[in-house]
Amino acid sequence: MTQNTTSPQVVENSTQRLPELRQVIPLADVLEFPDRLEILVELPGVAPDSVDVRHEGRELLVLAERRIEDARLVHGEFGSVRFARTFALPEDVSGEVRADMADGLLTLALPKAEERRARRIEVKRS
């Protein structure tokens, strides 16, 4: 039998596929404000209800999964990953941690204990 194979322009790519649920540490910025710390964690492609934030003692744990379908992918540079990161909370943080998530960015607000908050001291005329 004579065979002829024409390579189509698009072939199932030979780009390295990410293995199932690779573990990744998400990038984070930490900002300090007079009354709080903010940790901004990048979780691109993750929906808000897929993020797990746990405050355990002096640690904050962030866990999330992102699922990327393989369907009809001809070029894949990012895939399914599990994001995981633990932050050690500095001493001056105390109280309820607030977590807000939008557009793949998780913002954690860590209030500082009252006595640790920077405050302006009013200079009174003596």
């Binding site: 573990q23 540490i25 990038l27 910025d29 901004l40 990048e42 691109p44 993750v46 960015l105």
Partner: protein, 149 residues
């Protein structure tokens, strides 16, 4: 409150993370190169009548992106400006990339530039590029040679 011995040697923020990195053997950030020098990754899908290009960029807004299409070439420009801090605030740690990026993708077929759509959702830009008519797969009808006699 009694301070246990280890408390006095409390590791810094960074040291604790390094320990976890080693333990988990995990990658720091998704990309192999430091974020400041790296381009966002892209995925390309063949959705039959269109190509779909996906580019993750967390914490952006729709108007941070510019999408240009010409023939088979797609260019996505995005800018991430460093956050402006109010007085009294400072950066303790900066890992997220800032600056301007351009990703170019050469698609396997030409596309209809006027019908390209893009939306930004959960930190990923999705660009849908309908394939040019002449590039769409066409079924060739097989004529029965006998019927023509």
């Amino acid at each position: 409150m009694v301070l246990s011995p280890w408390f006095n040697r409390l590791p810094s923020f960074e040291a604790i993370e390094r320990d976890f990195d080693r333990m988990l053997g995990a990658f720091f950030g998704e990309l192999a190169t430091p974020a400041s020098h790296a381009l966002p990754p892209v995925n390309v899908r063949d959705a039959g009548e269109a190509w779909i290009v996906e580019l993750p960029l967390a914490g952006a807004r729709a108007d941070d992106f510019q999408v240009h299409v010409e023939g088979e070439q797609l260019a996505i420009d995005s800018v991430r400006a460093p956050r402006e801090l109010p007085e009294g605030a400072r950066v303790l740690r900066s890992e997220r990339a800032t600056g301007a990026f351009r990703r170019r993708v050469r698609l396997p077929t030409r596309v209809r530039a006027e019908d390209v759509e893009a939306r930004y959702s959960d930190g990923v830009l999705h660009v849908t590029l309908p394939k040019a008519k002449e590039s769409l797969p066409r079924a060739i009808k097989v004529q029965d040679a006998r019927a023509r006699n």
